[in-house]
Symmetry: C2
Subunit: 509 residues, 2 copies
């Protein structure tokens, strides 16, 4: 038997999934924890990925009629208190600003001074602040709809942080819209959910289930929360975006009142929706392997890296010239999705193997080696990140260049197909409570992260059944899928009551 290949990431996914995740992020140099508890540093490779996520999602939001704006970081405590469920949801984990100065204290060290009359909360989300501002802007039905979005940082105090997935400060976009009618607001909620689905599936290559949260999982203050849910490689679920229909709750709390076409004073109907840098974590957990990150080409910080291989100064000049020529030709190409192909030329003077592995770990879709023999043959040596790290092939220079856009598309499509196949293989229709329990009971108690996946089971709609599953098995209903009825009616897996269709139960991030 051939000796097992050493992986670039240790531990592997099978050995310790949670630690593997941290090590992938470290090896790809995407981010790290900071000296401030719960806050992280997003390093250039991770931030560049985030910039691509932002640009792509932003384009879609703008194309659908939304504009960007910017609202204050601080929310007066009294604003947060205006909506009872909302404050209940966020009061337990918020950063409170109480002073606006530091002054030398009795022992000479600086102490907070200039106490504020009213504490300010660092926004955990901006419904209440934006609501107060919309209340000023809206007088008549003619002022509606308002369709705004902001890209910003928010803070939700986090005692058990995890890079990208759960940090006290995180980057996100939050859209806030106000409408004349309930129907219009509901349509907006669904429209944005569909934008999220399209973006996450097409660009991040994450297949998702689209649905509605149960009451237990609703955003604090929402009438209905819609979401997209993805499956990670440890078969846990991750919520990748949410879109909330608020009814008139926040309009009433904030006083967003308009004069209707009939001359009556009415409260507006609002929505909010958000997606965050957690998507970076979702991409790592879906695509990365035991050799490091695998970037989906459509959002990769670089599509290809060229690695000149040479010994001594004689070879150096000729090989570099050749590599630069290839890079220049590639830079003239467009990706299949529009925009230039980004290619890096890594001419650092270091061990070629070590250098190659750096780019494997960063997840660049295509690595191209070019040495003296390739130059002679007018060829390049190509490796795709979606294949094994030693699975390389020689290709004529012009062929390589001509085929690159199609190869990028092939990798993108392949990542999605692979993730979808994994998810589908780990979804199981379960109708028996015993089987359901076994599904969520780790086969190896020392590895609680290894469990079944998504149990597609019937649910009667009773929160008590949902709670029982959550308490006994630490699994939740991820959403009630929009196409739930396709699975046909049945009996609740917990109580045997009537059910209109299956819903996915899963452990979740």
């Amino acid at each position: 038997m051939a000796k097992a290949r050493q992986n670039a990431i240790s531990p592997t996914r099978a050995e310790d999934y949670a630690e593997w995740y941290q090590q992938v992020i470290k090896a790809a140099d995407m981010g790290e924890s900071s000296p401030v508890r719960g806050c992280m540093v997003i390093k250039p490779w991770g931030y560049s990925f985030w910039e691509n996520i932002q640009r792509s999602l932003d384009e879609r939001l703008k194309a659908s009629g939304h504009a960007n704006a910017y609202f204050p970081l601080f929310i007066p405590k009294s604003f947060l208190e205006k909506e009872a469920e909302h404050v209940e949801g966020f009061a337990k984990e918020c950063a409170v600003v109480t002073h606006h100065r530091l002054e030398p204290g009795p022992d000479g060290s600086l102490v907070p001074a200039g106490e504020l009359e009213e504490p300010l909360i660092v926004r955990p989300t901006s419904e209440t602040m934006i609501g107060a501002i919309y209340a000023k802007w809206v007088q008549s039905y003619r002022d509606l709809p308002i369709l705004l979005n902001q890209w910003c940082n928010v803070v939700r105090w986090e005692l058990r942080p995890r890079l990208f997935l759960r940090t006290s400060e995180f980057l996100w976009q939050e859209g806030h819209t106000a409408h004349e009618t309930s129907e219009e607001a509901r349509a907006e909620t669904r429209k944005v959910l569909e934008i999220y689905r399209g973006f996450v599936e097409d660009c991040l290559a994450l297949p998702v289930v689209v649905g509605v949260k149960t009451a237990a999982q609703r955003f604090p203050g929402a009438v209905e929360t819609m979401c997209i849910e993805a499956m990670m490689q440890d078969r846990k679920a991750l919520q990748a975006g949410t879109s909330h229909y608020m009814g008139q709750n926040f309009a009433k709390a904030s006083g967003i009142v308009y004069q209707s076409r009939e001359g009556r004073e009415e409260h507006a109907w609002t929505t909010s929706w958000g997606a965050s840098a957690r998507l970076i974590g979702a991409a790592v957990m879906t695509h990365a392997d035991d050799d490091g990150m695998v970037m989906p080409p459509r959002l990769a910080p670089a599509h290809a890296v060229i690695l000149p291989i040479f010994r001594g100064p004689d070879e150096r000049r000729a090989v570099l010239d050749y590599a630069e020529g290839v890079a220049a030709a590639v830079r003239r190409l467009e990706t299949p999705w529009g925009g230039k192909i980004e290619v890096m030329l890594d001419s650092r003077d270091m061990n070629a193997g070590e250098k190659g592995w750096e780019w494997v770990k960063k997840g660049v879709p295509i690595r191209v080696e070019a040495g003296p023999r390739d130059l002679e043959k007018n060829a390049v040596f190509v490796a795709r990140r979606d294949r094994g790290p030693r699975d390389k092939y020689s290709q004529g220079r012009d062929d390589f260049i001509a085929s690159l856009p199609a190869v990028l598309r092939d990798i993108q499509d392949g990542l999605f197909a692979r993730a979808k196949a994994f998810r589908d293989a780990n979804c199981r229709d379960i109708d028996d409570l015993g089987e359901f329990k076994a599904f969520f009971t780790p086969a190896r108690p020392e590895k609680p992260e290894i469990h079944g996946g998504f149990a597609l089971s019937h649910w009667c709609g009773d929160p008590a059944c949902e709670t029982r599953v959550a308490e006994e098995l630490a699994a939740t209903i991820r959403c009630v899928p929009l196409d739930r009825e396709k699975s046909g009616p049945g009996k609740c897996v917990v109580c045997g009551g009537g059910s209109e269709g299956r819903v996915p139960f899963a452990k979740a991030y």
Copy 2:
């Protein structure tokens, strides 16, 4: 005598400059104050301008080798205290987070709870946080230079806020670099200053003086602060960007130590540099007129707006089709600076005059009216925002389209030339102290904003002379220009001591 035309903005610049500024921002719908003292809302038209500023400056920073990253919002108090001058500079105006929870208090209302062991400061700037992180990253000279930038929000408590120019929370970019040698760090400081100058002059059309701050105006903790200074239409100065050479001050405070090529432990040499959304205020104060905002075409949210003019449904369809055809043709054009020409078609059903004025006030470079008679002649009626609002001309459709990129360039160049001519006309060489005093004494005491402009006077280098001017005349040395010596030597306008060249004294924002 013809009746004076009514201006769209009241008061005019001459009547009340400070109020005019607020009214321009309101009329252009760029921003407004928020319910949180000192914090503002950036509205879509203002934010879109900011996005263009960001994109353009970001490209230049990336092209010069800088990468973006993201660092924490919160800075532990002890970090801020590490550099004595730095904390002295920022302690008086900072937002202090002391708790991480709200809990019901004795009277049932929520009160701050979960007191932090160490207060956190909402970053006023990130030297100390980023310094602590660089200290971890840097071991050897091989780890240098580090050339990072972040786009983010910062907070400096502000009791007398002014939209865009001075707010408690503001948006900016802050670059932080670490180098092996003093020379390299100094070169970086100048390189970025030159990027700022190029960007601000070429894109925002703001002519600037480039120089070095005197010790009194230096960034807290810096060895040298370089800056670009612009003149507003009230002849006051506005600092439009700064670049700081820190020497080893912050490296020593944060422990950024590297092993040198000779094997010695050395402290790194650092720089930082920033430009903020204050540039929006600078653009308003430089280009806007008594009819509202005037957007520099290179960064305008839209380059042109098409206003179909029609009466009744018969005219409506034909005119809209025609207008849409013009818009489609314009959208295929590139600006002289690369990128598509952005054109809006405003087909709202409202009074045509009122509609036109909205776009005047928003400052769109080109307004195009198209009505039934234009359609017949295959022509359009064009107005340039850099000319009077009633100065319109008819132009053949194809001519208009073909000439549009050149017209945009002409407007851009014209705005710069006009601002430069204004500045030059308001710079005066002054060698006599009496004249100097008169220059900074308002001719109309009821209008303290009306004073001389930039007094180009000699200065001996003594901080006492600088302080005397600041105290008596509320004017400061804006910078010591890099080309100071061109003006030749002379005698200090205050004390008569020797001077190597003139420096601009001015009142400033």
